[in-house]
Amino acid sequence: MRRSRAPMWLAGAVLAFLWLPIAVLVAHSFNASRFGGQWTGFTLVWYERLFTAADVWRALANTLVVAFGSTAIATVLGTTAALALDRYRSRLQDVHHLLVHAPLVVPEILLGISLLLFFVALRLPLGMTTLVAAHVTFCVSYVTLVVLGRLQDFDWTLLDAAQDLGADGWTAARRVLLPLLAPGIAAGALLAFTLSVDDFVITFFVSGPGTTTLPLRIYSMIKHGSPPIINALSTLLLALTVTTVWFSQRLLKEAR
């Protein structure tokens, strides 16, 4: 039976479309022309400039501090939330379900402005603490979702068996539940980390003095037309991402 080839062409076109701007970006990071309109020659000067751009590296440091901090908190909150939602059925859990899922369907701008107005109303100074708090708030739901997904296929009889063998609640948790749940928790943490690193809108609304993160810096650089350094930075980040993904794929294969 002949299958139509049309979907394949369309799928290919869509994937090409997804990669088109990426390809342009990478190409232009080596373009000697400052403005990206035309190609004027191959150069590595933008990469050199990138390495001396102290403000970019400071922004990256801020981003990492916020990301690690918020990921740590969000992972703990998300895991306990997932366990609660999976193990219990009650009015409390209905409310809990709503609270956890609502941030997922709210546009970022609403989350950003509600947090800003909240901090303003409480007269809290905007700084690293409020920024981390904001990031945790939008990350928790994603961690919960990932861990919940993992819990749906979870074999609870293993935990029962451990307890039958004499382990008390906490030992069973530490030596059976957590290790089995670890891949799900790690996946949730990774997702939270990614979301925090790339967040712009919410950070833009609640940032204060000295909390310029990398996306904020990039936005400012876009506005000033320092394009080539951004291209170089993006190419490096992309290379880093691809390497990390390839690496983790290898690790997963070995783990199996």
Binding site: P21, G36, P107, L159
Partner: protein
């Protein structure tokens, strides 16, 4: 459902739930209420929140430029969603039917661009659509656009970049549903005489309807609230509700108006969200036991 004694006793429910419930109640629900409250305050002329309660702020929402703004926001979001669904469905279909190795590669091909900074991808489009760039020159040479015009700073540019940024969010849920679809149903339909289009529309699409619904929500709602894309590539004619909220907050320093507009956006988002949330809760409760029809 196995009871994990000692760890998940009924009296432990509070302990497991408290951290996340408290956090989200304080930092998500409470701020939402604060936004509603601030929408009922007057604006202080020097910026900030005024001292008195008033309905005037909400009243100012009825300004003559609002309907056009709301319509444009809705239309662009709807168009983005529609285009994304049309492009994503065949792509997900192809991905789900591929061999395992090719499939993994395709999933990565969809996800990896998403791993680069969101801002940077939009910026890349500014380079592609640049008036001095290769694309523009090609279009001028083909007499498709007049010389000296620009592709940027128009609603079409906004639509294009919105589709680009939302597309992975459409592809992945549909792919997740397609992966679970039993393709033998399609073969059966063909055996019964249905043409490829008929079986696609009549068998495949209904079979992945949950994925289609998720994709619609995950595309439509962020598009409604988008503000960066119209800010960077849209011109004066491409303003969306999100831009106005940002403008009120950062430029006009009219926080109560920003709050009022946010309420408006929240209402627009509320209806599809409530539908989705109640369905998902029923689904979670349901899978504890029976499982679903199309799995």
């Amino acid at each position: 459902m196995a009871e994990a004694r000692g760890l998940f006793r009924p009296r432990d429910e509070r302990a497991w739930s408290t951290p996340s419930v408290v956090w989200l109640a304080v930092l998500f629900a409470l701020p939402a209420l604060v936004v509603v409250a601030i929408a009922f305050r007057s604006a202080d002329p020097y910026g900030g929140i005024g001292a008195d309660w008033t309905l005037g702020t909400l009243g100012r929402l009825a300004d003559p430029t609002m309907p056009a703004l709301l319509w444009r926001t809705f239309a662009l979001s709807a168009a983005t969603t529609a285009i994304c669904l049309v492009l994503a469905t065949p792509t997900a279909y192809v991905m789900a039917r591929c061999s395992s190795r090719l499939r993994q590669l395709m999933v990565l091909a969809v996800v990896v661009p998403f791993w680069t900074s969101f801002l940077v991808r939009i910026f890349a489009w500014k380079v592609v659509l640049h008036p001095e760039g290769a694309l523009q020159r090609a279009l001028v040479a083909l007499h498709l656009v007049p010389e000296g015009s620009t592709l940027l700073y128009q609603p079409t540019a906004v639509l294009l970049v919105l589709v680009y940024t939302e597309l992975p969010f459409a592809i992945l849920p549909i792919y997740a549903a397609a992966e679970r679809f039993d393709f033998r149903l399609l073969e059966a339909a063909r055996d019964l005489g249905a043409g490829p289009v008929r079986s696609f529309l009549g068998v495949f699409l209904p079979g992945i309807r949950r994925g289609l619904l998720t994709a619609t929500l995950m595309t439509f709602i962020p598009a409604l609230g988008s503000y960066i894309v119209p800010d960077l590539v849209g011109g004066p004619g491409g303003e969306m509700l999100g831009n106005r909220i940002a403008q009120r907050t950062f430029v006009d320093r009219d926080l109560p108006q920003a709050a009022a507009l946010s309420m408006l956006l929240a209402l627009a988002v509320l209806l599809p969200s409530v539908l989705a949330l109640t369905r998902s809760r029923r689904r979670t409760l349901g899978t504890a036991g029976a499982g679903e029809a199309v799995r």
